[in-house]
């Protein structure tokens, strides 16, 4: 099994240290907008919300970003983590991979006009090492296949859309 990032969102306190540690390691500046990991804190809705959720790349075994790239700039590294990596010299900034990723893990640098993503900090992810509560761990994990979860996300959205439409029709018939 390859080593991957494991995220336990119920342990996340929402301090966003991981975002800064990431940008510091990968971009040499402390700027959450250039982080490969994002923590979203949901603050509205009925209590209790699953409020703080960190999101980052899962290095899918069937990576949609990889197969979507028209210039073969995205490839799988021959390391133990089986990291999906981007070759910035090849990347033409077309953004196809950004659209292809179902999990919002492929980001786009507006200044450099290139795509970027988590590449696991060459085996020592900064986010996991700064996380104070153990919400982000780096350990062995089964390969992640994107297809089923991606369809699930799409399914959720289709179903809620359909239900809302039904409700709207019923209400307007009244």
């Amino acid at each position: 099994m390859p080593k991957q990032l494991k995220i336990f969102f119920e342990k996340c306190i929402g301090c966003k240290s991981c975002e800064l540690a990431c940008s510091m390691t990968n971009e040499k500046e402390m700027n959450a907008n250039k982080s490969r990991i994002t923590v979203i804190s949901f603050i509205e809705g009925k209590y209790p919300l699953p409020s703080n959720i960190p999101f980052t790349c899962k290095q899918c075994a069937d990576a949609p970003c990889l197969s979507s790239c028209p210039v073969d700039a995205i490839s799988r590294a021959k390391d133990k983590m089986k990291t999906v990596v981007i070759n910035w010299e090849r990347c033409i900034g077309c953004g196809k991979c950004v659209g292809a990723c179902p999990f919002g893990a492929m980001l786009f640098d507006k200044q450099k006009k290139k795509a970027f993503k988590c590449e696991l900090c060459e085996g020592e992810p900064a986010c996991a090492s700064i996380c104070p509560t153990g919400a982000i761990l780096f350990g062995q994990q089964k390969l992640f296949y994107s297809k089923a979860p991606a369809l699930q996300i799409e399914g959720f959205s289709i179903l809620s859309q359909r239900n809302r439409e039904n409700l709207r029709q019923t209400k307007s018939e009244k």
Partner: protein
């Protein structure tokens, strides 16, 4: 110093003139930065330079300064803090209030180290700052809205629906709009810049809120990246391993309640007693384990399980959702009002935050009226028919609302404890709890917590709490033994801990994330390219304390203002401090403190002290 600073600062401050509706940017000189660093220190220097002496805190000439420091918005734990500096509405002296959360970090991401607000807008407005651009926007739709609602409306307007993502709002509630003298500024829903009526000053300028967001990063020299990460890791480790850090991680500041009560430090019924029944209901384990359902909502870069949004699970306030109260509020809205149900405190705390008032002043205000009511000094019809018995939660809530709207009796009480006591007269003067020229101290029974009462009395902002050395020494500061008695030694110790605390307020980070001065200096050097050692840090602290003194002297402060109200001088009725009082030895300790600070007998810095600290420009204020 050329080429300084190398990193940390955004190198720009924003000036907003609300009268002229003008927005401009300014640079700060590197000398000023290296002498005052940021936070409270730099803010006080700007205030000293810009304010004419003797102006009304509510006048349009007063400044409201929002400051950050070089470490804000970095990986330093708890570095989302900011300071608000202005002229205190309660005392007329200086004030410096701090709030944690994310606002301080995001102000820097928006491109600025500081905001100076001056003038006064004709109609209600808010300020929107994004990516190095600022605009003044009409806020008539937000008038009368509470602080949480204002926060949410602006967050939705500029951020994304229902999520907290890289955007911060600092707002005032109805109390600030009505210029309640102890109104506060509420940022990131529940993080409060409380002291000195900064919310009332914001209200007097007709400024309802400030929204900050942006995608700027905090600059750092790429060559120092590894070294900085090492410093930060050291800082985080030290902070997590202090006794304070361990307690806060486990139970939040609620964890202090039981140890404080065992020493009789918890204020009960306006300091008329020191014991109360049902202490087990205030145990961290009970509140966190049984009473509340919790959702973590930490501040920027925090390492603790500290701040939470909670839902009360049992008791009369079952179902109430609010922020988890801090120790001081738990004590101040609980036993100090004769309320022994922490669920009720959670409700009252949220209400008070939404209305936008300082909990310190609110606590000792309502407790004073409650005591007067119970003793029959003030009658029901005089307080708008509210049955203000000890422990009446609904009555306390009603009174808070009336104060925030300045309605009925609330109009008088909105003036703060000291003014209200003077107005009501008679025995109220003996019941009022305040320090200096009239601001409530931190919510303890400080009569046996000698160091706390002493620091509050000599504090230049009236609110700063000292480093408490009652149970330990500090080799780093050259303090060998704990301060256990109210004597001259305590005054000397304060002269050593005060500058350390003041230096930390120049860096400005969450108090619970404290580490050694050495680590602070190393981190700062690494980021800015400065060369501070521990002694330099203490010098910065001393410089700021002396400048604050001179500011206050300019506003007419004398040695007699370094004092506390008569209730705080009375000996406690029971507990380990029974029969003891600060009064007999206070003056001796105060003189010892003045001497150790290099001040004259009048409690003011001498010419030599000022010159040594590069404060020569204040010397004309000294008597010839």
């Amino acid at each position: 110093m050329s080429g300084y600073p190398k990193g940390g600062y955004m190198q720009k401050i924003l000036r907003v003139d609300l009268s002229e509706r003008e927005i401009s940017e300014e640079l700060l000189g590197s000398d000023l930065l290296s002498q005052y660093i940021g936070g409270t220190g730099l803010g006080v220097r700007l205030l000293y330079d810009e304010l004419k002496p003797g102006i009304d805190p509510f006048s349009s000439e007063n400044r409201l300064i929002f400051m950050t420091g070089p470490l804000n918005g970095t990986l330093v734990p708890g570095s989302g803090t900011y300071a608000v500096i202005s002229r205190n509405t309660l005392t007329g002296l200086a004030t410096a209030a701090q709030a944690n959360g994310f606002f301080g970090a995001r102000l820097k991401y928006a491109g600025y180290d500081a905001i100076i607000v001056q003038g006064c807008s004709e109609g209600p407005v808010y300020l929107h700052i994004e990516d190095g651009k600022a605009e003044i926007v009409d806020a008539s739709g937000l008038v009368g809205k509470d602080s949480f609602e204002t926060d949410m409306l602006l967050r939705k307007k500029y951020g994304e629906d229902g999520i907290e993502d890289r955007i911060s709002v600092a707002a005032i509630g109805p109390a600030g709009e009505k210029r309640v003298r102890f109104a506060c500024i509420v940022s990131d829903r529940g993080h409060i810049a409380a002291s000195g009526g900064v919310g009332a000053i914001m209200g007097s300028k007709n400024l309802k809120a400030i929204v900050v967001h942006g995608d700027r990063g905090v600059p750092i020299d790429p060559l120092e990246k590894e070294a900085f990460l090492q410093c930060v890791k050291q800082w985080r480790e030290e902070a997590q391993n202090t006794a304070m850090g361990k307690t806060v991680d486990k139970y939040g500041s609620i964890g202090f309640f039981i140890p404080y009560h065992s020493r009789r430090w918890v204020p009960v019924k306006n300091l008329t007693t020191n014991v109360f029944p049902g202490e087990e209901c205030f145990e961290g384990e009970y509140i966190r384990g049984k009473l509340h359902r919790m959702q973590p909502r930490s501040c920027h870069g925090c390492t603790f399980h500290h701040c939470h949004t909670v839902e009360v699970r049992k008791g009369p306030y079952k179902g109430t959702v609010g922020e988890e109260p801090e120790y001081e509020i738990l004590a101040g809205f609980g036993p100090n009002w004769g309320i022994y149900d922490p669920g009720a405190v959670t409700m009252l705390n949220s209400l008070n935050d939404q209305l936008g008032m300082d909990a310190k002043e609110a606590s000792f205000m309502i407790s004073m009226i409650m005591e007067g009511y119970e003793k029959g000094i003030i009658r029901k019809q005089e307080i708008d028919g509210i049955d203000l018995k000890w422990g009446n939660v609904e009555a306390a809530a009603e009174l808070l609302k009336r104060i925030s709207r300045r309605e009925g009796i609330g109009d008088l009480l909105a003036e703060g404890v000291m003014r209200a006591a003077h107005q009501l007269g008679g025995e109220f003067l003996d019941m009022a709890v305040f320090v200096k020229r009239g601001n409530a101290p931190h919510i303890h029974d400080p009569r046996v917590r000698w160091g706390t009462l002493f620091t509050q009395a000599i504090s230049n902002t009236g609110s700063q709490e000292g480093v408490d050395m009652t149970s330990r020494g500090s080799p780093e500061l050259g303090i060998e033994k704990p301060t256990s008695e109210p004597d001259e030694y305590l005054g000397e110790v304060q002269a050593k801990t005060g500058p350390a605390r003041q230096f930390a307020e120049c860096l400005i980070f969450c108090y619970y994330q404290s580490c050694s001065l050495k680590t602070m200096a190393q981190t700062l050097n690494c980021l800015t390219g400065a060369d501070y050692d521990v002694e330099d840090c203490l010098k910065v602290g001393r410089r700021v304390i002396n400048l604050l003194r001179m500011f206050n002297k300019r506003e007419g402060m004398t040695k007699e203002d370094d004092c506390f109200s008569s209730r705080l001088g009375q000996p406690p009725m029971d507990g380990p401090g029974k029969g003891k009082s600060w009064v007999p030895t206070f003056e001796k300790a105060r003189n010892a403190y003045y001497r150790a600070m290099g001040w004259g007998e009048d409690g003011m810095p001498t010419r030599e002290t000022l010159e040594k600290l590069d404060l020569g420009f204040t010397i004309p204020m000294l008597p010839k």
